[in-house]
Symmetry: C2
Subunit: 350 residues, 2 copies
DNA sequence: TATTAGCACTCTTTTTTATCGAGTGCTAAC
DNA sequence: GTTAGCACTCGATAAAAAAGAGTGCTAATA
């Protein structure tokens, strides 16, 4: 048995109706609201076929049909049309031009969850192979040093070092020379044990300080690695199928903890430009088995990439969500380039 | 009518039993589980009095009694004993010695919510009048500068400055001198318009750079002002009286948004050493009318103070919560002093 | 006078039973 | 191939009944 034109039309109607109402769709509804001019009995036969083919499901005898995961998949892949024109409300979200990337992402997550009525997540992913551009140790006062490491993409890391005994300016200059000489241009992957012991040897009695600098570098790569911002967790209460107490608790927990989300995102991050849709189990997160997740990658330039994701019920408005994400992608790429023209560009890591 | 010895004992039993079970407490229960050796009928009379006095409430005729807010208040103020000895599980929570204050606080919130089974919040409040210790501008490469500002309490702020035209070393040294000379030792409050225009004048054509440094300072005070970390929002699903869908949604929203919490905390922050309990409406947050909030202030030394709060149902285990908070206070004050002995102490702001 | 046993009464909760109605599947007719 | 018709299923809603917990009051008791 194959999906013919008519079956597809019926499937399409079932899914669209279900997306709107969240209620199982019956044969009579279809017969009335399509231009097929078929009686409910005929529709019933077709629906029976569609069920056998796995596109729709009957929650119980004597209920209408709802889309199965396979049905949603078919819809997303073949039936849905891009709704590119209708994103008026999203069109230009106004983000104050703070330079702090994290607060921008946080804000963006909020806006998105507000306009879509789904839960959202945004991650920032800094590229791992990030060369060290500059290292400097300076004396803040008699018993305190400040170590600063600047890596590519202007990621800056600093640490305050409390000294037990003072250090003279000459030694400081020497250390700065050793460190810059040994580290500049290297990405963390390049810093082998050999490099480290070489540095330590040169540092002589001030090994401690070299260690601190290396720590700072290590911390930078591990910690900046993946930050996840979420918003709109409570939106799930708007969809009864997600808010049965147990379900809600698990979902919100996942959104609060973020760990699992981070794993999911980093596993599925491959930098390509597509908007992806994960329906039910496709996302591999157990708590999301009743959800769909739509993700897009963005690119802020300077190698700052990341993921924007929207989490909602399977019956989410895929068309709207996807066109929103498309718009976001576009806007974000423009976001951090606009103030380069002012002559001075400022970035900060907080 | 007055509260005599016996009434107090009965009230105490009602509250303790209700804290455990969450169910209205009946007269027979009291009569069985106290050593008063009174029949349920006598207890009933006493309960009737207690209700008249406003300490307990009957949810409906033919239900037992539950404590009123006034009852809880009396319990917290007079009946509860500090349970100082029984905090075994809390005794030494192991926090990896990351030096990043925010990740410590985040972790701590998690541990607390996990051990108490309530929602938790932790804020860090950096004292506003924070003097500038050190300012430095250095050349990262031909068209990039890095500005670093170290303020008291080792709060470090840095910004990357992209140059339109190169700057020579001499100018850089001059700028550094001007900035340090003009800013060191000053707290943000001291930096008047006069100081600013003085600096700008001295900087000549490099006004831009001075502005950036001032921006960094401004940002530091405004942004570090109050950060709120929450954890364990989903714990509220463990208490039926809080998890009726509407309630849960509002509560979790408040915990997610954090804004209202921040306001609440900063309004009630007065740096004194007491552990405070807000029952129901006492907290002034509408969504928390069915909750109790217990807060404590901590002090990390160096003027870093903040609040730890626990949010749970009114029938929370006040004794345990309060002794946990006491323990936390103690441990936190030790937290950032312990590694001073290692010869090198490290702090960082990320 | 304080306490208690006894009992009718109230109100929630749980269980049971009945009813409704949407929707199906099947058969037979068109 | 399509459709009308009809018996049947099963969830949802409603109504009724039963169970239970706890009270308030009265009258008896120590």
């Amino acid at each position: 048995m194959e999906l013919d034109e008519r079956k597809i039309k019926i499937l399409d109607t079932i899914i669209r109706t279900y997306l709107e109402t969240g209620e199982p769709v019956g044969s009579r509804t279809i017969s009335k609201y399509t231009d097929l001019n078929l009686s409910s009995a005929t529709i019933r036969n077709e629906m029976s076929d569609l069920e056998e083919l796995g596109y729709i499901i009957q929650p119980h005898t004597s209920a209408g049909r709802i889309p199965s995961d396979k049905g949603y998949r078919f819809y997303v892949d073949h039936l849905m049309q891009a709704k590119d024109k209708e994103i008026s409300d999203m069109k230009d979200f106004v983000i104050e031009h703070t330079e702090r990337i994290d607060s921008v992402l946080k804000q963006l997550a909020q806006i998105l969850s507000y306009t879509t009525n789904y839960a959202t997540l945004i991650t920032s992913q800094v590229n791992r192979d990030n060369a060290i551009k500059f290292v400097q140790i300076s004396k803040v006062d008699e018993d305190q040093l400040l170590a600063v490491v600047v890596m590519g993409k202007n990621v800056v890391k600093n640490k305050v070092i409390n000294l037990v005994e003072p250090i003279d300016n000459e030694t400081l200059m020497k250390l700065n020379f050793i460190l810059n000489n040994g580290l500049n241009g290297k990405s963390p992957a390049d810093i082998s044990l050999g490099v480290i012991s070489g540095l330590k040897e040169q540092a002589g009695e001030h090994v401690d300080i070299v260690s601190v600098v290396l720590d700072a570098i290590a911390e930078t790569i591990s910690q900046e690695d993946l930050e996840v911002y979420t918003s709109g967790a409570t939106n799930i209460f708007k969809y009864p199928e997600l808010s049965s107490s147990e379900n809600a608790s698990n979902l919100i927990y996942a959104l609060e903890e973020k760990k699992e989300l981070a794993e999911f995102v980093s596993e599925n991050f491959d930098g390509d430009d597509e908007i992806k849709v994960y329906i039910g189990d496709e996302s591999d997160i157990k708590t999301m088995k009743d959800c769909s997740v739509v993700t897009a990658t963005y690119d802020l330039g300077d190698g700052m990439k990341g993921t924007v994701g929207i989490i909602g019920p399977k019956r989410m408005d895929y068309e709207k969500v996807m066109s929103n994400l498309k718009e976001i992608k576009k806007q974000m790429s423009g976001l951090f380039n606009s103030n380069k023209t002012k002559g001075i560009e400022v970035k900060s890591d907080g």
